[in-house]
Symmetry: C2
Subunit: 502 residues, 2 copies
C-alpha cells in the first residue's frame, strides 16, 4: 500500500512540476519577455497547460486514488498521508467532471475574449465585446452543468476559487456589508475629503524600490527565497515555497507601487510558510482565494496602513524622499493613506469602498448567469449600481462595464473572494489580538515576527490540509462573519477622520 | 498525406514547446532564481526533460515519419516540407537508439558529477572526482555502443554536437593548427608582451552595460526581441527566433563582460535570423555547435577586435570611461585587445592560444575514452600537454585537470567544436570579403548590415535545413579548412604586434 502512496507522490510531483513550470512561463511573460516573444509563448503555455490537464485527469490517477482509500482511512485526518490523498481525490474528481473539449474551448475563448476586451476599451465600444461575452457565458453555463445538481448555478463557479462555499452563504455577508458601508460613505462624504496631497508628487523609482524592500525585509522577506520585479499589473506567483516572486509597478507620481508590494507580500508570506513537507503535492498552496486575499489585505491594510507601523517606517520614508515628507507630520501622512473617497475604478478603491465595487459585480454576474440580465443591458445596469452604491456616474463604458478584464476572460466567481478576504482578514486579526494582545507596541519597534508566527501556526503552514471553512473555524473560532470587518472600518473612520459614524 | 504532415507539425510543435520551456527554466535558474529555489527547480527541469524525451521517442512519431517517406520524396530537398521530415527522422532515430534507462543514468550522473567537481575544486583533490569520472566514462562508453558500428568510438560523441562529422576529419585540422600555433606563440613570447594595462582599472557596471547595448544595437539587436541579463557564466539561449536572451557578467575591474556580450550576440543573431517559417520545428535552430561557435567568434573576434570597428565605437567608449581612456590612443587600445599571451585558464585565452587549449582536451578525452589514458594519470597528462603546447606549468589541479566542468558533467565530444568554430569563422569571412569586398570602411561608419545580411542569406536563415558539411560547402565553397584561420592569425600578429611570424 505504501508503494501506491509512493506512486501517488510521484504522479503528484510530476503534475506540480508541470503546473509550476507553466507559472514560470507566465511570470517571465509578465516581467521579462521581449514583446515579440508573445506568439511562441502562447503556444508554450497552451502545451504545458494541456500536459498538466492530461496528468491531472489520467484515469490511472483516479484508480490509484481509489486503491488508496483504505490507506487514507488508516491515517489521521490531519496527517500528511490522509490529507494528500483526500485533497488529490477532490482535485481529480473536479477535473474529470469537465470534458477536455469544453476546457479547451474555455481556454481559447478566454484569450480571444481578453483581446476583444482590449479592443473594445480602445474603441469605447461595448458591442465589440458582446458576442465574446455571450459565447463565454454560454460556455460557463455548460461548465456549471458539469456540476449538476447544484443549489445555485453560481455555486460551481464560486467553488473554483472558494472550495465548498455556497452562494447562499455569501449573500447575507454582502447584504450586511452593503447595509453598513453605504451610509458610512455618505457620512464620510458629508465630513469633507481628507487631504492626501502628501501622496502626490515626484517619487523616484529607485527610492521607492529601496524603501519597499526595507519594509518587506523587516516583515520577513528573505532574499534567498524571494524576488521583486517590475510588471504592469502587480501579482505574486511562486514556483515552490522557497521561490517566491513578487511583482509591482512603481509610478513616479505616486506611492501606489509601494502599497502593491505590501499587498503582494501578504500573498507571498502565505506560500513561503506552508509546511515544507508539502512540497510537490497539492497541499503546498494557500487554501482558497478568500484566504489568500485575507493575507494580502491583512498585510497591506491592517499592518501597512497602521499608525504604529509607520511610527517605525516613516523616518526611513522621510529619508528616502526628504524634499517631500520632511514637513509632513506622520499623522497627516497616515490620514492620507487611509483616506476614504469613492473612486470610479475598483483598483483605486480604498478599504471602505472596495467591497462595494465587489458586491456590485457579484450581483451583476449572478444576474448575467441566470439570464435575468440581458447582456446588452450590462453597461446600464453597471452604471445604475455605481450610482446607487458609490454615488458615482461612469462617464463612459471603459470606466463602467468595461472596467475589468474578469468577465471577458471568462472569470466568473472570483470577484466575491476579494471582499470575503477583507472579512476574513479582520476576523483573524481580532483573534490574534485576543490571543497575543495588542500588536501596536511591537510594530512601533519594527517587530512583526509574533504576528507572522501566529499566522504561520494557525493558517499558513496548513496549506490545503483543511477546507477553507474548517481552517477559519480553527483559526478564528467560527464561520465567516462580517461584523469584525464592519467594526474595524467604523473604528478606523472615527480614529482617522474623526467622523462620527453609526 | 498532408493530414499526416499536419500531425507531424503538431507533434513537433508540442515537442519544441516543451524543450523551449525547459530552456526558460534554465535561463531563469541562471539569471533570476533566488538560491533556495534550486531544489524545486531541479525537479521541474527533470520532469520537463523526461516529458520532452517521451515526446521525442514516441513510437507513434516514428510510424508517422515512416508514413511520410513518399511525401518527403515528392518535395524538393531544400523545401520546408522535405527538410522537416528529414531532420525530424534523423533526430528520432538518434533519440531511440539510447535506452531511456541509460539516458536517465547519464542525466543523474551528470548532476552528481558536476557537484563532485565543485567539491573536488574546493578541496583541490582530484581523487574526490575520480569515482564519478570513472562511472561517467563507463556510461559514455555504453552510450557510444548504442551507435555501433562506428569508425572511431569518439564519433558518436562528436556527432551529438557536430552531426555527421568524423573524428578522422578533425585530426588533420588540429594537427595543422598545432603545427602553426605552437611556433607562433614562441615567436610571440620572444617579442615580449603587449601592454594591456588600459584594459585594467575600474569600470562601473552601468556604463559597461550601456556601452555594450550601444554596440549590440548598432549590430542589430532589437529590444522588441532581445534581452541582456546578468549571470555568472555568460550564455545565450532563445525561446523562439523572436525571443533571444543574452547573458553576461560585468566585473568592475575589467571589460571581459563587454566582450562576452559581443560573443553571445553572435549566437543570438544566428537564432534571430532563422527563417520564421521554421518556428516550432526542429529546423529552427543553428545547425551545429561549430557553426554556432563560428558566429560567436566571428562577431567577438573578427568584428569585435577589429580596428575599423573601434574607429566607430572607441569615442563612445572614451565617453563612457573618460578617466580611463581619454589619454589612451585607439591603436594602444586595439593592441591591448588583441594581446597574445598563454594563460593557464582556457576561458581567459586569446585568439591564438585558445585553440591549443582545445586540442589538448580533445587529445585527452579520446585517450580517456579508448582507455589509453588511465584516469588516475589525467592530472599529470594534462600538465604535460600544458607545458608542451602553451609552455605553462599548472601550479595545482584546479588550474590543471579540474579546470573545466565539461568532463565531470559527462560532456565529452563538445570541446573540439570550439576550435572548429574558429576555423569556420575565418572561412566564412574570407568568402564574404571575396563576395562583397572589404568591410572595413562600412565598419568605420558603424554599418554592419551588409555582413549580417550576407550571413543571414547564406547561413542563418537555413537553420538545420542542410547538414553542417553541406551548409559550409554552400556558404564557403568547400570543406572545413584550417588555412584561412592560420593566415588570419599570422596577419593579425604582424599587424598588431609587429612580430614576424612564419
Amino acid at each position: 500500500m505504501s508503494g501506491h502512496f509512493e506512486e501517488l507522490l510521484r504522479r503528484l510531483g510530476e503534475l506540480q512540476d508541470v503546473e509550476k513550470t507553466g507559472q514560470v512561463l507566465g511570470w517571465d511573460e509578465e516581467t521579462k519577455m521581449p514583446p515579440l516573444g508573445a506568439e511562441a509563448r502562447a503556444e508554450q503555455r497552451a502545451t504545458i497547460a494541456r500536459i498538466a490537464h492530461e496528468l491531472q485527469t489520467d484515469p490511472a490517477l483516479g484508480e490509484l486514488l481509489e486503491e488508496l482509500r483504505p490507506f487514507e482511512e488508516e491515517h489521521a485526518f490531519e496527517s500528511f498521508e490522509a490529507s494528500v490523498v483526500r485533497v488529490s481525490r477532490s482535485d481529480y474528481e473536479k477535473a474529470v467532471r469537465v470534458p477536455s473539449d469544453l476546457r479547451a474551448d474555455l481556454s481559447r475563448l478566454s484569450s480571444q475574449g481578453y483581446r476583444a476586451w482590449l479592443q473594445a476599451r480602445e474603441r469605447q465600444d461595448f458591442n465589440h465585446l458582446l458576442p465574446y461575452l455571450e459565447k463565454g457565458l454560454e460556455l460557463r453555463r455548460q461548465y456549471v452543468e458539469c456540476f449538476a445538481p447544484y443549489d445555485d448555478p453560481y455555486d460551481p463557479l464560486l467553488d473554483i476559487y472558494e472550495p465548498g462555499m455556497k452562494t447562499v452563504e455569501v449573500e447575507p455577508i454582502f447584504d450586511r456589508l452593503k447595509e453598513a458601508l453605504v451610509p458610512m460613505i455618505r457620512t464620510f462624504a458629508e465630513g469633507g475629503a481628507v487631504d492626501d496631497s502628501s501622496l502626490h508628487g515626484h517619487f523616484p523609482r529607485d527610492a521607492q524600490r529601496r524603501f519597499s524592500l526595507h519594509v518587506l525585509e523587516r516583515w520577513g522577506m528573505d532574499r534567498a527565497a524571494w524576488r521583486l520585479d517590475k510588471t504592469v499589473h502587480p501579482f505574486m506567483t511562486c514556483f515552490s515555497p522557497s521561490d517566491i516572486r513578487l511583482t509591482t509597478n512603481f509610478h513616479e507620481d505616486s506611492l501606489h507601487g509601494v502599497l502593491s508590494c505590501l499587498h503582494e507580500f501578504g500573498h507571498g508570506v502565505y506560500e513561503r510558510n506552508v509546511d515544507p513537507r508539502f512540497a510537490r503535492t497539492p497541499l503546498a498552496e494557500g487554501v482558497s482565494s478568500a484566504f489568500h486575499e485575507s493575507q494580502s489585505r491583512l498585510w497591506e491594510n491592517l499592518v501597512g496602513r497602521n499608525l504604529s507601523t509607520w511610527r517605525f517606517f516613516y523616518p526611513r520614508l522621510q529619508d528616502e524622499f526628504p524634499d517631500h515628507f520632511a514637513d509632513v507630520s506622520i499623522e497627516t501622512f497616515h490620514r492620507a493613506l487611509n483616506r476614504v473617497e469613492p473612486t470610479m475604478r475598483r483598483v483605486d478603491a480604498d478599504e471602505v469602498t472596495y467591497s462595494l465595487h465587489i458586491i456590485l459585480r457579484f450581483e451583476l454576474e449572478r444576474a448575467m448567469l441566470s439570464g435575468d440580465l440581458d447582456l446588452r443591458d450590462l453597461p446600464n445596469a453597471f452604471n445604475e449600481k455605481m450610482r446607487e452604491y458609490l454615488g458615482l456616474q461612469p462617464q463612459d463604458v471603459t470606466s463602467g462595464a468595461l472596467q475589468d478584464a474578469h468577465w471577458s476572460d471568462l472569470t466568473f466567481g472570483y470577484f466575491p473572494t476579494y471582499a470575503l478576504g477583507n472579512v476574513v482578514s479582520v476576523q483573524l486579526w481580532e483573534r490574534i489580538e485576543s490571543e497575543v494582545g495588542p500588536l501596536d507596541e511591537q510594530f512601533e519597534r519594527g517587530e512583526f515576527g509574533v504576528l507572522r508566527e501566529w499566522l504561520t501556526d494557525n493558517v499558513y503552514r496548513w496549506g490545503r490540509t483543511f477546507t477553507p471553512q474548517d481552517l477559519l473555524d480553527r483559526a478564528a473560532g467560527g464561520q465567516m462573519d462580517p461584523e469584525p470587518y464592519v467594526r474595524y472600518l467604523q473604528r478606523k473612520l472615527t480614529d482617522v477622520v474623526g467622523a462620527a459614524v453609526a
